[in-house]
Amino acid sequence: MIVYFPFVLFAAGLLIAYGSAGVRRQVATIAMLAASGWSLVLLVDPSTAAWAIGPIAATLLLPRAGERVRSNFEGLTRRAVTLTVAVLVALFLATRLPVGENPILLSVVPWLMGALGAAWLTSPTDEPERLQGQALLVAAAAVLILVAVPAGPLTAGVAGAMALVPIAGERGRIPGRFRPAFSGVLMLVAAAAALAAATGLTLRAVNLDDLAFDAGGPVLLASAIVLVAGSAVSAVGIEWAALLAVLALITAAPSLRWAALAALVAVATGLERHAERPAWLAVGLLSLTPVLQALASPAWSARVQAVAVAVGLVLMLFAARAGMLRVLTLPATTLLVMLLLSSLSTSNLVRFQWVAALGAVLLIAQPLLSSLIGGGRPELIRDRLLGGLLLLAIGARDSLGLGDLAVVLLLIDLAIVRVDGLTRPASGWSGRLILLARSNWPPSATFAGATLAVIGAIQASLMLGLLAAGMLAGMQLAPLLDRPALAPGPERLRSSLRWVGPILSIACGIAPALVLRMLRL
């Protein structure tokens, strides 16, 4: 009987949260979190209860107004429909992914928490509810993976603590006078990581109690990329978010990895809201992979994982048009997917390749369609083409890792080199260097990445190779199509270190083999 108590507590908390305001609603939310923690304890192990500390602290830091927000009929209907759909999806997933022989009413509680977070994020009544929704989603990602892939108390606690990050993203800014120093430190760490990767230095896995970190394989280079991206082009004092991306890359525990990525998305979408839904969907699909791996029937688990990873990456590329989503979340997600793909079987890799290829076509079709429909700000076709090439390259698992190399080069281009708009006409040597770095000409990273992507795609299949070649041809025409979209806009970030991008682009274009060596494939 006791196994149903978490569900009852959650249901009661949900009713009270929707029917009240102020402290009572805050307490009800904490009760729902406690119910999820209880469920986790019953499903896995009492030591994992440490997970609940972070989400509960986040809820305490988000006080609710004493009076209920006035709502209208449309708003209420939308909220009701959103919650209903989210709960139905949660129920479906809970029934399809049972945790051993535990009753569904016990294992559904973490899913319901995720559904509630999604509902509050999608149709919030006010800003604190949206923030609470983000915290719940991050916490849900952690708890669901903890249920599927159990971890020790420290890992569970840190994964749960990720729920605090959305609030930190909203309020935590590095003071102006410390930003250059912080950026400099991040750059130094990035340089050290790149140097270690280039020299072939082997870093041993680090274990802090049950919390394990591993910087083997391509992780060092991946960390260097996100650190440079975070330090050079991070917005308004949240350079620290780069550390979340690094955490997601180096941690060995899936629960912490995907929770950190979800937290990163929460920080990024705090500034860049127009693409938050596809970004969250992407994180949801990607964090589903460890759950599927552990809980789903072997008959369909692997193929759904392959498709989920592909669709997740397509959605992330769709969302990451500008801002922090592009600068930090896109590289972190892509590099994590790159690590994931090594475990796919050949047949599932083909499945991934085809979904990725269709996603690439979709990415390019969207801005073309938007330009025909009219209205709204025009999108950069070249960015979409680069995204499409990235999708094609990532699926090309060739023996030398040229597809992976292309992915890294294209990511450097998308996230570091091509972040801010080129608003001034180029003059002098510096202007020419910047123009060259951002062009399709050799030796820019764009050229090297796109060329290697075509070669990699052909290794996978002729059709993918031809598609990649078509995209490369499109890239030659893209500068002409992109002129209206290149006007400076409010959502484009300004790179704080103007020279880093162009120099990195040219260096990568001249010596891609060094980057391949740093990948340590």
Partner: protein, 520 residues
């Protein structure tokens, strides 16, 4: 000196000169520095070619990156012959430009980089490096760091997109045999599709020759010879070398031969109505390039020699037509003679050798469209010839004369340059072609080059003297009123698309994803 250093000497000469002219711009001496350095680079390549043993090839690696993307130089008969001819032509163009008075523009830096990039294309050791070299060459001649720059944008984009065909061929080779290095690709690696893909950049560059005729002509134009003809010829012959000197099958060879001849006829007809000058020379040159493409389809050694001869000598011919000459001058008349492809010119010699090869195979009727093209070329060129008003020795006149001398004494180019290059494309048994002071002898017949040149000169001189009052015979009138250039943008309104079509696209994507998930 180690071979690795020797192979870099042409690049060194060109890049040092480029640095000097960039460092001290707008000096009169820059032209001399540029032409001198380019000439030295060309002579270095020629010396390397002469020192090369028959059939020898050397791969000089500098940086081993991936197994199929090594930074390496290929020294063989084909690459060194093309490098030498291209750089010597570039040097001659620079010298001609140096003679131009009143033009204060300073083209030397760009021209030196273009020469270096052309050299990189020709000396590249693998297909991937060749693709990168072609991109650098396009960047160098167009100077369009800003990709939206309007100058020759259509042509630049066409070339860039067409070059992707070569990238696909390189990728296909890498997939098949794990390398795109010339030494490691077996001759059966490339099929018809790959051949056609590589033909794309060649065809676009041949088309570019006709394109250049639009707009006013500069005193000296650098691109036609160095950036278009030389890479196009080299690319085609290199691919043929990789394929063992022959096309995948006979129908393809016949189709390509016919297509080349038809394109040549088309260009010749286009030239019929053009006035003298670059607008006339450009289609005539493109027609000769199309004929060279036709000859390249043959699998007989003699045909390979013919096509190599024509491609190599088209480079200086393209350089010659890139120099603006005064009307009714000796240079103009000699240029028209070279373009006419009549007996006694370098072009005709190639056709004669090709004809001999076809006759030996019992396919002489294949020369009918070629002969038609030649007649049209002759009519188009000679009907524009006007009486010579003054005889002055200018660079273009000397250049055109030198080409006629080579046609009269083919051994000057055949033995040291053409035969080593042709022998790289495919095996040319000894005795296939032997050039002497008087002409050329082959197993299927000879060509008394000196005699033909003297007779042609005499006949033409006599004819010109008889009809000197009626020259030029035809007035310029476009036979085909095409404008070579981008078609004007059609004024079409895009169809109205409802906003919900976005969801339709996403819906289709999700349906396909569902299928991908459900498929076992």
């Amino acid at each position: 000196m180690p071979l690795a250093a020797q192979a870099l000497l042409p690049f060194f000469a060109l890049l040092v000169a480029a640095a000097i002219v960039r460092w001290r711009p707008r000096r009169n001496v820059n032209g001399w520095i540029a032409s001198g350095a380019t000439g030295i680079a060309g002579i270095i390549a020629l010396v390397e070619l002469l020192r090369l043993a028959p059939g020898e090839h050397v791969d000089v690696p500098y940086l081993t990156t991936f197994p199929y993307a090594d930074l390496a130089v290929r020294l063989d008969g084909l690459s060194l012959a093309f490098t030498a001819v291209t750089l010597i032509t570039a040097a001659a163009l620079m010298l001609s430009r140096q003679q131009v008075r009143g033009d204060r523009r300073d083209p030397w830096f760009g021209w030196l980089l273009t020469s270096a990039a052309a050299c990189a294309v020709i000396l590249a050791d693998n297909l991937l490096l060749l693709f990168i070299g072609l991109q650098l060459l396009t960047l160098a001649w167009s100077g369009a760091l800003d990709e939206t720059a309007r100058r020759r944008r259509g042509l630049r984009l066409s070339v860039q997109i067409a070059d992707i065909g070569l990238l696909l061929a390189a990728a296909s080779a890498i997939q098949s045999v794990g390398t795109s290095a010339f030494s490691g690709v077996p001759s059966d690696t490339f099929g018809l599709a790959t051949f056609l893909l590589v033909l794309l950049p060649v065809a676009v560059r041949v088309g570019a020759l006709a394109w250049v005729s639009s707009g006013p002509q500069a005193a000296v134009t650098f691109e036609p010879a160095i950036a278009w003809v030389a890479p196009a010829g080299y690319l085609l012959l290199r691919l043929l070398a990789l394929m063992g000197g022959r096309l995948p099958d006979r129908p393809t060879a016949v189709a390509l031969f016919g297509s080349g001849a038809l394109v040549a006829i088309g260009f010749a007809v286009l030239a019929l109505g053009r006035p003298a000058g670059l607008r006339l020379a450009a289609p005539l040159l493109a027609a000769q390039a199309a004929l060279a493409l036709s000859l390249s389809t043959g699998s007989e050694p003699l045909m390979t020699v013919a096509s190599t001869w024509l491609w190599l000598l088209l480079i200086p011919l393209a350089g010659l037509v890139s120099i603006r000459v005064a009307g009714r001058s000796l240079a103009e008349t000699l240029t028209l003679l070279n373009l006419a492809m009549i007996p006694g010119t370098v072009g005709f010699l190639a056709l004669w050798l090709g004809g001999l090869a076809l006759a030996a195979s019992g396919l002489l009727f294949g020369m009918i469209p070629v002969a038609l093209a030649v007649v049209l070329l002759g009519v188009a060129a000679l009907s524009r010839a006007a009486g010579i008003r003054s005889i002055q020795l200018d660079p273009a006149g000397i250049w055109a004369g030198a080409l006629l001398v080579i046609a009269a004494f083919p051994m000057l180019a055949m033995n040291p340059i053409v035969l080593p290059a042709a022998a790289t494309v495919r095996l040319v048994p000894s005795g296939t072609v032997s050039a002497s002071l008087l002409g050329i002898a082959t197993g299927f017949g000879g060509w008394p080059a000196l005699l033909v040149s003297v007779m042609t000169a005499a006949l033409l001189g006599l004819a010109a003297w008889r009809i000197r009052d009626r020259l030029p015979l035809r007035r310029a009138r476009d036979v085909i009123g095409w404008r070579i250039g981008w078609p004007s943008r059609p004024r079409l309104r895009p169809p109205a698309i409802p906003a919900w079509s976005r969801f339709l696209v996403w819906g289709a994507f999700l349906v396909v994803v569902a299928f991908a998930m459900a498929r076992p």
